[in-house]
């Protein structure tokens, strides 16, 4: 799944990292949008063998997009904006 940016593509680019890999996003992207739009395909992996996950509800309810941001700790990708220089660790 790669979401398609439909509007507001002129927002300034920002850079952050996911598992050490450099990712470019747009200012105002949530981590969920940024990670998926960058083609990374998942924000976490099911602990119980069900493979990659990328959330479901996009509104902080389903709890299926938790990841770790260095210095901030556990965060929901859908409710956390990507910030320049963020270091994201997927689990």
């Amino acid at each position: 799944m790669i979401p398609v940016r439909l509007v507001d593509q002129a927002r300034p680019e920002i850079g952050f990292s996911v598992d050490g890999q450099a990712v470019t996003a747009r200012q105002g992207d949530t981590l969920l949008a940024a990670i998926l739009a960058a083609g990374l395909g998942r924000v976490r992996t099911s602990e119980f063998g069900d493979g990659p996950r990328a959330g479901f509800c996009w509104m902080g309810a389903c709890q299926d997009c938790w990841l770790v941001v260095e210095g901030l700790g556990a965060r929901r990708a859908c409710s956390t904006l990507a910030e320049p220089g963020m270091k994201v660790i997927r689990r």
Binding site: E47, F48, Q63, W66, G73, A74
Partner: protein
Amino acid sequence: MKADVLIIGGGGAGVSAALHLAKRGTRVVLLERGLIGGQASGVNHGGVRQQGRHPAEIPLAIRSRRLWSNIQELCGADVEFDPCGHLKLARNAEQEADLLRWNEMAKGYGLETTMFGRNAIRADYPYFGEAVIAGSLLADDGSANPRLLAPALARMARAAGATLLENHKVEAIEAGFRVLANGQEFTAPILLNTAGFWGGAIAAQFGEPVPVEALNPNMLVTEPLPFFCPVNVGVVGGDVYLRQISRGNVIFGGGRGESDPSLPRSRPLPEPGFLAMQKAVEIIPRLEGALIIRSWTGIDGGMPDALPVMGWSRTTPGLLHAFGFSGHGFMLGPAVGEILSELVLDGRTDIPLEAFDIARFNGQDGPEPDVWKTRLE
């Protein structure tokens, strides 16, 4: 409905008694006010632990642990029993001395422990923080899933011919015994009181009140974390205890929640939860920042000396008590049920029960319990 033995209370002890009695051909009816294993037996920490027990409980715990080796066969199901060891931690010199004293005492009962000092413990268990200065491992202790045990025993009891009735709240009891529940009458010459906290009310009705209080263990669980902690962890003082299940969740507890046993309803509380979190992070610093996803409690019967009431009534022939396990009865339940079946059918058991005598609370002058020893022929 007529039976040989009536059991009030469908926790681990009650359903195990039903199973063991039914296996030996006894007509058993068990009445449970809610669902089988719905209170203390189903909501506890799941420790299968001999370590740290009062000397009076050790023979019972040892017999229980033997029984746990065949628990899958007894339950006819996997109840996630894992003999992973129980490591009890000391956080200061005084606590370390406590561990050594207990180990010395337990050796007399044949229980072997391994002591780890300040350096050794971090070599073997690198995840412990600086707060931990020593630990004592009882290697064949372990844990199981409390949500599964009593219902599994209940299935086996039913298969063995016992009648287990859920949502049957007892409305009246008369000596003899006649019990009214859900508008239906049940009679039997023997009555087993395995009603946990509510066992106190039954005892009181037969003239032997005991100072039982509702004990609500405050339990929390984290999200699944990468597996790191293969051993059950306790501390001297018991203010926090934790274990990581193979799925990764760390289950821990400490302090008490609140309850209204008349409803019955119980709920965990935030403050003891915060305290347990703090203490858990002190002994295992890597837990900091983990997510707490759930909490729970239930209602157990707590006695002032933290020992159960177990044995024949001092006032009423045919009444046999086993309640008030004070937050550490989960692992004992299966064996307690077996012992109750022996008391009923054989008139004896090989486990000393004197310390659990109900008479310790009301100093009755009544006859020795043996007088009431009733054998079903």
